[in-house]
Each structure stands twice: as structure tokens, then as C-alpha cells.
Symmetry: C2
Subunit: 246 residues, 2 copies
């Protein structure tokens, strides 16, 4: 992992851009983090829109995490942002757009083609990022995963024991295979659902929530569309991480 830039935000948070091989990422650490007082880490998941587009929302979440005493980090998803185009993903997206424009139902095949390759490729990348981040003296763990793509969060929580809690955003299509994997997730979960999310299948989200094997799981459904998550829902998610990462 190579740091490529560093700036101090006005609330004392240190923001560092890095590359991990050819994957760009960003790390935010609170002013308090040091080798003698290492802090837990929250991985900030996000939709595959590119870190540039997502930056303002990610930085807002990172500042909240820092205020709560957590480092947070994110990496670019394959095929997004400044990373090379990925024909597999481009083709799946084109097919999704085609059926949605035609008003046809989104089949399980389309969902699988869109999401499964992304999960397959990005989960090992998030794990490599965890390896690198946890080797920094100012970051001590444990690790939480926050946000979407929810299928990436499910797979990570199912396969990597370093993830001890996850706040997942149910805002994207979920393949059947991932619902099955959810049964193997046992860490505490906080699931956010936008009740009227125009691009999301509410019933599928409820089924996914039901499938999780975790003894502690909470579903928090709020009004509004995909981007309308109310401020207080963010506060409740922050309390979830404070309960489980401290």
C-alpha cells in the first residue's frame, strides 16, 4: 500500500489517498489515532459509481466515523472510476438497462450476471485492503463493514472473521446465491432499507434480512427513495458500531 496524498480536514481528520497494487483507495483516521492508541476500522462500501462521484458522501460518513473514534477506508470497485473498464460489468449493466427500459422483469440471470462477478472480484480486494490497513500501527481493529453493495458486505461478513459487525444498506439487487450465503453470517447486523426505494425490491430485501443467521440483527426501514436515508438513521447506525467495535 502506497500513500499518494495526505490532507488534514478541518475537524482534525487525516485523509490519505492510497493505491494497493492498481486499486485506488482512501483512508481517514481521527486525530486521536496513534501507534499507542490504535483505533477500530470501518470499511465504507459504496455503489459502483466511482470514488470521485461518491467522494462527498463517503467523506461525510468518514467524518462521522472519526468523530466516533474509528478509522474508515474505502477502495475503488473493479471496473469503476479510474480503474480499467470491465467488459463483463459493462455488458451486464447494458442488459439491465435494456430490460428496465423495455419494462421487462429483471430476471435472476441478469441479477447474477451483474452482481456475482463484482462480489467474486472485489471481496478478495477488500480483504487485501484489510491486510494492509490493519498492518498500520494506528489501526488496531476490530473491523466493521458499512453500506453497499450489500452482496459484497454479505460475502465479506460470511468469509472473513475479522469483520465483527456490519451495517448493510439494502439498496441493490441480491442474487439467490448470496441469500444462501447470508444464512452463514453470524455477526451482529444493522440493515438499512429505504421503504420506497424505486430501484430496490422490498420483498427481496425482507427475505435477505430473514435469511441472515445472526442472533442480533435489526432491520431499520425509513421513508423515502434510494438516497433519502434520514440523518437520524445514520446516527442509529453509528451507535450500532459504537456498541460493537469498542
Amino acid at each position: 500500500m502506497h500513500f499518494t496524498s495526505e490532507q488534514r480536514l478541518d475537524d482534525g481528520v487525516v485523509e490519505r489517498a492510497f493505491t494497493l497494487g492498481d486499486i485506488p483507495g482512501i483512508l481517514w483516521t481521527p486525530a486521536s489515532a496513534s501507534a499507542s492508541a490504535p483505533v477500530p476500522l470501518i470499511l465504507l462500501g459504496h455503489p459502483a459509481l466511482g470514488l470521485g462521484t461518491m467522494y462527498p458522501r463517503l467523506a461525510g460518513r468518514a467524518r462521522q466515523a472519526a468523530a466516533d473514534g474509528f478509522a474508515s477506508a474505502t477502495i475503488e470497485l473493479p471496473g469503476s472510476g479510474d480503474r480499467p473498464r470491465w467488459p463483463v460489468l459493462d455488458q451486464a449493466r447494458a442488459e439491465l438497462r435494456r430490460v428496465m427500459t423495455a419494462g421487462e422483469p429483471v430476471s435472476e440471470e441478469i441479477i447474477d450476471a451483474l452482481v456475482l462477478p463484482l462480489v467474486e472480484k472485489s471481496v478478495p480486494e477488500w480483504q487485501a485492503a484489510m491486510d494492509a490497513l490493519l498492518s498500520l500501527p494506528e489501526i488496531g481493529g476490530p473491523v466493521g463493514y458499512s453500506g453497499g453493495v450489500i452482496s459484497i458486505g454479505v460475502r465479506l461478513a460470511a468469509v472473513d472473521p475479522r469483520i465483527v459487525a456490519a451495517a448493510l444498506f439494502a439498496g441493490s439487487f441480491v442474487p439467490r446465491a448470496i441469500v444462501e450465503e447470508a444464512r452463514g453470517v453470524t455477526v451482529p447486523l444493522h440493515v438499512l432499507l429505504q421503504w420506497d426505494d424505486e430501484g430496490n425490491d422490498r420483498q427481496a430485501s425482507l427475505e435477505l434480512f430473514d435469511a441472515f443467521g445472526s442472533k442480533e440483527k435489526s432491520l431499520h426501514a425509513n421513508m423515502g427513495g434510494h438516497r433519502g436515508v434520514p440523518q437520524f438513521a445514520g446516527d442509529v447506525a453509528a451507535q450500532f458500531f459504537t456498541r460493537h467495535l469498542k
Copy 2:
């Protein structure tokens, strides 16, 4: 309203038993409440098991409310506790027990017979209690409703503009007519659902949540049975009232 006893709990909360006509009730006020600093009021709803049985849980909720700066009050439901038996309710309960024991489905007729008379009779009683409680110099409003019976909370929120927010516990049967009334509820809502509540129809609860007309409504589903609401869910509900009653 006549006060029949008064005691100071060890955290400074004043607990007063009262009667309103022939209806027993309890009022809890924080140490800070006075004529010059009147406090908002939370009505503590509860299942029809009698105030004696419910007292420990109600007192716990009242202490939390007092710690947040709210008075809270409850009244006995018709046909429960020390109030005269109510054959209509006894008969409906006997019928419910019969079909559940026989493993028959609980029909809409049985739900209507069990819940609608209770709503019809108790909602005006809660309103009379509000009249009396809001006339006390140390209670200033606004008023929130908290808990179950959820159908009582729905009707109260639909008909009485003094209720400005409600935290409802989706843990009891809901008649179709009440789901329709829910469309007319517009105040902020916080709905608690126990995902594996053995005595509750999850799908019916989700439909009720969907029906509410409120722009701000949140569904909080947690693991565990009817009485397994986790402590942190109570904390989140308390924050809801702090946002809306202060």
C-alpha cells in the same frame, strides 16, 4: 382525576396513582417538572394484562422517560386488572384461545371481535386521561403515545391532534378497519417489530407499516420473541421521542 397515593422513586421520579372516574391509572413525573417548567407527556400503552402484572415493565419505561425529561402516564384498560370484567372481551378471548388450541387460523372476525370493542371503549378513556393530565400545571405537552395495543395507538394518533408522535409496538392482531385508519395517521412514527414474535403476524405488521400516511415513519425489526425487545431498541425509541416532543 383524584390522586390516591404518591411515592418518590430513588431516582427522584414522583409516582402517583390516580383514578379517573372508575379507571385506575399511574402518573410518573421527573424531579424537574414544575408549573414554571412543565414537561411533555408520553402515554404508556400496554397489553390488556392488568396494570399490576404490567407494573415492572411500565415503571422501567417511565423511569427512562423521566430521565429524558418527560412525564409518562398509563391507565387500566377496560375489562382488565381491578376494573369490572367485560363479557364482550372475555368471550372474544375465549374464542381466540379455542381456535389457537385447535390449530385453526385466526379469522378476521375473531380479530375484529377481540380488538375493535377495546379500541372503541378505551380511546375515549385515553383522551379523557389526556384532558386531566394536561390540566396539571407540571405537564405541558406535547403528547406522544408509546407501546401497544397498537390498534389503540393507531386510532388515537388518527383522531387526536394532541398526539404529535407515536412509538408503536407491532405485537398484536390488527383489524382490517384499523389498517384503513392507519392511512389517516400523519404524525412521525417509530414502529417496533419483533421479527420472530410467535404471537404476531409479521406480514400483517409490514402491511400496517406500509399503510401509515406519515411522511416520517421508521420500522425497527429486531430478533427474538414478543418480550425480547433488546435494550438498544428502547434507547432508539427514546431518541425518537426526544426528537419529536422537545
